[in-house]
Amino acid sequence: MAMTLCADNISFSYRKNSPMVLEQVSMKLPPGKVVGIFGPNGSGKSTLANCLAGILRPNTGVVSIGEYPLCAIPKMQLAQRLALAAQEIPAGLPFSVEQVLHLGCYPHRDFWQNQMPGESEKIARCVELTRLQHLVTRQFNELSGGEKRRVMLARAIIQAEQFLLLDEPAAYLDPQHQLELFEIIQALAASGIGILITSHDLFVAPLFLDVAILMHNGRIIANGPPEQVLSAENINIAFKRSISIAWNHPGGIIVDLGVQSIR
């Protein structure tokens, strides 16, 4: 049965007596939906993604899949269901792209790490989906920042069966590859995977979401359909700028930055 990834009233601070980075945050990531978390730098987006991935443990509140808290799910089983594509790209990784993609199968393999049945086919399908055919034989270290990010995204796709948490997935990507990325995200969501993305980009990401969440100072200030959440009033509260989005423009959206004069 398809289950939902839920954060229930979670709060988090990195140290004792330091300010809370997340305060009483509740949200849901249903299967087959794309949820986007927006907010300015330091608003708690990545911390929330890390809590949902089980990397950080909230000080209060619970993160759960269905009725099972993350801490009650064995690590390997959790990794089979859920993967995080972290914001940080590994430096000095000595592997080829193909070897990196095979590492996505790590939680699915047996104790001796023999290849699982159909592993090569699964990787080939993912390579086709993410359009990485021309990079497969290259060394990871030789790739550009954007290409590395796409490879790490593909690795996460290979790993996760139910939920994908993508921390700033569009960073380093040019507009063409941003659009490609969101097309891939939509295709994955259509296959039943719940996808969460964090972003501070208001130009492309909002178009492809089912639900948007806007954060400010560690709290959720709006949660719902993107058109309602990313209203001029809410964006003004979060980003302290008069930015508005025209949603009904043919071929996409127009973001009005509210700048009076450029030159």
Binding site: K75, Q80, A83, L84, G92, R109, N141
Partner: protein, 336 residues
Amino acid sequence: MDKVNSQRSYLWQLGLMFVLSCAVLLMALCCGAVKISPAQIIETFSDFDGNSTASQIIINTRFPRIILAGLSGMSLSLAGLAAQTLFRNPLASPYMLGVSNGSALGAVTGMLIGGLNGASLTACGIAGGIISLLLIKFLASRAGNFTGTILLLGIASNALFSALVSGMLLFAGERLQGIIFWLMGGFWRASWPASGMLAFSTMGGLTGMLLLAPAMNVLLLGDKTAISSGLNLRRLQLWLMLIVAILSATVVSVAGVIGFIGLIVPHLTRIVCGPELRKLVPACAVGGAILTVAADTVARTMCSPAEIPVGIITSLIGAPILVWLILAKARGNLWQ
């Protein structure tokens, strides 16, 4: 098909290393203050009860020494590979955790205060290494257990223990020369019991690293991705630290501080066998044994019958290789 080709090429690489190790073994048995021919070696191994001088030299002197040197090389190169993976730093060495200088401090303390040698000296060295590891682990746990934190604590404790060893040498008196010679590293104290103890720790470390190799591959993706892949990061870090500590402390306690093997052998074998750790771990062990036995053979034959500490030879070989590796890294092809 690619997988089959890759496995075939790996078997060829291992075969080549096996042939190379046999050649180095033969050279090490033949060379020394007394020259021994390959025919005498074959005769000795076909008749263990031989009482000839050559047989006595081979069985009682050279063979235990070659075994000790080979096991030390294996231990140091495996510890180096574990350290480079743990810190995700291609220039990390087993000595970066501070364990080797902790071990040296334990051994020097044993020599100066207790006048120890042999097995008790080895035990003191291992105890010093384990205590320094526990100290680093305790401090790291207070600072969040981050990989970078462990590295910095290792560098700090390395400097502290090194200073303490140097300070203790001021009180060494007439033992100073012997201790300095020991600190430079060498296998002249080779014996079957020392080899047996080192074999125990080396095989333990090798087995552990073979089991951990798949997780070590994932660790290279970064802490967050590793945890998200199902790794128990803290437990893996602890195992790797233990392996680095036990392997390097055991070698330091039986043979002194031998530099560069742990740093350069993982890189050299990575060039031959690639970065995948399940293939790299056994290749690294064999490569470390070959290089250390070759270096020891040079150390005991270059100024024969006098002996040069093997640490000097490994540093003389290792420093130019390290420079080459750094230049290769600057050109961006270090790990290819």
